[in-house]
């Protein structure tokens, strides 16, 4: 087996895990200010209370895996996107402490400030992830020494901004469905309305982004042309997306959530298949691109890390599933809640 390919897939799996899991809690954050009153907002935060921190570990581990398996990709992206990375990190810090600090004081000003911090930081995080993805599709200027040669503002071109908003729309839809699934009563009914609006927002972005990508970045579908069997993926994806409003209409909230999770995985798959075998495309000089071969660690490390993944990941999945199982059902506020 080609270990480079395996690790490309494994990093993808970790980041897809992150996208599904933190995707909904970023979405809950983005919708947070639409919930009114302290009670509703507490329900919003406590719906992700026990899990947000574990969700973020997928990013940390994905980052670690990228560092270990593709050090050049890790180094080029982190240093090239320097200010964007720190902006993202500051947003994640504010999210984390907002969740933790908000409940610790009863004062309305205190709580409202953290509500705003939580929501703005969530929106900014989702948007910045999208900007990074947009730049990876579009390509960034790289030198022969694998170093980024552009500027921070050069990263904010229209295509990247569009993917930023697209990712935000996915998170909001995913988060709204999660809120519907985890709440009851008034907030639940309200969140149903959010889901409808979010699906519309998402559909607009989805169609727009697909058209723009076909027109301006046609190479993203080259592999699909080469392997027509892969056309099944966008077809399945369309069906899955169409299934979301159907499940919501029939009040099968969990199945709606499952559908949007599958849609996210398929998006990640198409993204991976589109950029393969590049990990960081160089634009304008494609010969300087970082591929899964020229940017990887030694075979020895890829092997060792693969063993670690084989031992570790089943255990990790087991924890994740048990934790979600233990905290299943509608969220209730008690004296351990935030």
């Amino acid at each position: 087996m080609d270990l480079h390919l395996i690790w490309f897939i494994l990093v993808g799996v970790l980041l897809a895990g992150y996208a599904i899991l933190d995707g909904f809690d970023l979405g809950v954050g983005a919708l947070h200010l639409f919930a009114k009153g302290d009670q509703e907002r507490r329900l919003m935060i406590n719906s992700i209370g026990p899990v947000w921190d574990g969700n973020e570990v997928w990013l940390v581990t994905g980052g670690g895996a990228l560092f270990a398996a593709f050090p050049d990709v890790y180094a080029t992206l982190a240093s090239g996107f320097y200010l964007a990375v720190f902006l993202l990190i500051f947003a994640l810090i504010f999210r984390a402490v907002a969740i933790e600090f908000r409940s610790k004081q009863a004062s309305a000003v205190w709580r409202q400030s953290w509500d705003v911090a939580f929501s703005v930081a969530s929106i900014l995080s989702a948007f910045l992830f999208g900007v990074v993805i947009g730049n990876l599709i579009w390509g960034i200027p790289l030198g022969a020494d694998k170093e980024f040669q552009g500027t921070f503002f050069g990263l904010l071109h229209p295509y990247a901004l569009l993917t930023g908003v697209m990712v935000l729309s996915v998170c909001m839809m995913h988060g709204a469905i999660y809120v519907v699934m985890k709440t009851q009563g008034e907030l639940h009914d309200k969140a149903r309305g959010w889901v409808k609006n979010c699906i519309i927002f998402f559909m607009i972005m989805y169609v727009l982004l697909t058209m723009v990508t076909m027109l301006y970045v046609p190479k993203m579908v080259e592999h699909l042309k080469a392997y027509p069997i892969l056309f099944l993926i966008p077809v399945v994806k369309l069906l899955v997306i169409a299934n979301i409003p159907r499940e919501i209409y029939h009040k099968r909230d969990f199945l709606a959530f499952l559908s949007s999770s599958v849609a996210i995985v398929l998006f990640m798959f198409l993204f991976g298949a589109g950029i393969f075998p590049n990990m960081v495309l160089s634009n304008p000089l494609p010969e300087n691109s970082l591929t899964i071969y020229n940017a990887s660690s030694s075979i020895k490390t890829l092997q060792t890390m693969f063993t670690i993944a084989l031992i570790g990941m089943p255990v990790v999945l087991a924890y994740t599933i048990s934790i979600y199982w233990i905290f299943r059902g509608k969220v209730k506020l008690d004296n351990h809640s935030y």
Partner: protein, 450 residues
Amino acid sequence: MDILLLSRIQFALTVMFHYIYPPLSIGLGMVLVIMESMSIFTKNPLYHQMTKFWVKIFGLIFAIGVATGIVMEFEFGTNWATYSRYVGDIFGSALAAEGVFAFFLESGFLAILLFGWDKVSPRMHWISTMLVCLGAHFSAVWIVVAGSWMQTPAGYHIVTQGSHVRAEITDFWAMVFNPSSMERLAHVLSGAWETAAFMVLSISAFYLLKKKHIAFAKASMKVALAMAVIACLGQMITGRISAEGVAKRQPAKLAAMEGHYAAQAPADFYILGIVDDNKSEVNGLKIKGMLSYLTTGDFNKPVQGLESFKKEDRPPVAIVFQSYHGMIIIGIVCMFLVFTAVILLWQKRLFESTWFLKLLVPAVLLPQLANQLGWITAEVGRQPWIVYGLLRTSEALSKSVQANAVLTSLIMFTLIYTLLFVLFIFLLDQKIKHGPEGFEHDIDTQMHRA
């Protein structure tokens, strides 16, 4: 401003701020395991109350630890891209292993620890507490392994491809068990236990002085004291072993720690001193030939001094010397406090000795300070190398990052971390003043009857 200096300041700031929290979560994890075990086996509600209170403190500390830890995961790439390319094969592996084996365990079961009281059985909760504690210890294992590899690289070879040079793993286990990793791990873990134990001692002493939550404070103090005794002894032993390791493997660092300049001469051990780098000497209180004795077993044998290294290969002496000695002095003061407490407890006077309790309250800062000083000794002592003997710090920077960008992020970090620290202290203070929940009075009276 110089980008190298800015990047080093930023790394130092972010890692030092982060390192306020992990020792507390590692050590408090242990405190919680002890308390909840006592609660499970004795069925005494006091221990349940104690566990619940310290879990709340733990939750606050853990959240800030996570938030500031994400920074560290990406900062190698943002500011030290050349380093990351050079060591990704090795250092990246340790970080990824930390994620897979430690962080998932820790953060997953943390959910049960914090929110699962009514969702799972007491026994399952107790198991979760142990797993969180185990996860916290595992994360120390992997990060210390990674850090130790930078001090004493092993299990690698250097591969050159065109203009690219990097270190690649040849033997994973030799990398994990590199010469300094286990002794440094033991030193870090006992430091973490000591830090948390002193925090529990400090808060309990505060309650005793305020005459509040008496039964709670007494019992917490006993648990913490037991841990502190083990941790203090552990610190002395592991510190001694670590210093011997440094003497063997990083002689320039040892020479800087003790301000020993002469290339080949018997070396003294300073208790306190002032370094005069221009004159290449230290003025202070010293034990003659003691360093020679400690490293070679003979007071008159020569020890390799700084002057046997080229100027550009020497670490800065004054800062390493002072941090190292500061750490030792604090360690001794902590030891003195802990053994005084044990004697007072023996004589059944500890909880009434107001003067001593007043010392314990601010003593929470001592192990924190010692941790930071120890870190400075280890990392500044490794300079000018980022990976000892292989890669210089000055050659490890990101090539695509400008000084302005680093200055911007540094200013942002300073502002955000100042805000975080102020809020943390404020909320911690509130939690302490609020005190443990419920049935205080009942337990006190029960204890009196018993």
